[in-house]
Assembly symmetry: C2
């Protein structure tokens, strides 16, 4: 499954630490393509594992994390408007 992960972490006093943890965990599973955006191929069990790890740092009342799942990368095209992050060029 091809997934896109986007997150918006509240900037309160614990926000920076949560952001760093969510960023470093996400980087173990997916490719960083933009400030708070990751993409890549994950199995359903990979998604379950990623979610379990991230859940420890997501504050349900403060932080928003969205995971878009496409049944395969062939169903998902990407256009880059503006600067191309080096990281994005070799994915979709």
């Amino acid at each position: 499954m091809y997934v896109i992960l986007v997150y918006d972490i509240a900037k309160d006093e614990n926000g920076a630490k949560a952001w760093r943890r969510i960023y470093s965990i996400s980087k173990q599973y997916l490719h960083h393509v933009q400030n708070s955006v990751f993409e890549g191929e994950l199995t359903e069990s990979g998604i379950v594992k990623l979610r379990a790890e991230l859940k420890q740092w997501i504050r349900d009342d403060l932080d928003s994390v969205l995971l878009f799942k496409s049944s395969g990368s062939r169903w998902l095209k990407k256009e880059v408007w503006g600067k191309e992050d080096k990281a994005t060029s070799n994915f979709l």
Copy 2:
């Protein structure tokens, strides 16, 4: 076509103005679901129009805008981990 638009606008002296313009233009075409994330149904010509409008404000050397296109919303599922923005509840 179902699209997800994510952007990361450089925070230089013109960044705030660019962000506001990109936000308000994007809102005319798509649903705002997270800080710099929009989603919704768009035709190919709608995408061309959106791009033309946004291009006036995207600084190619500074700003990153990614558009993910899925051939239809049925190929794209969404999971919400953390707080559900009111705006996201009635889309995917």
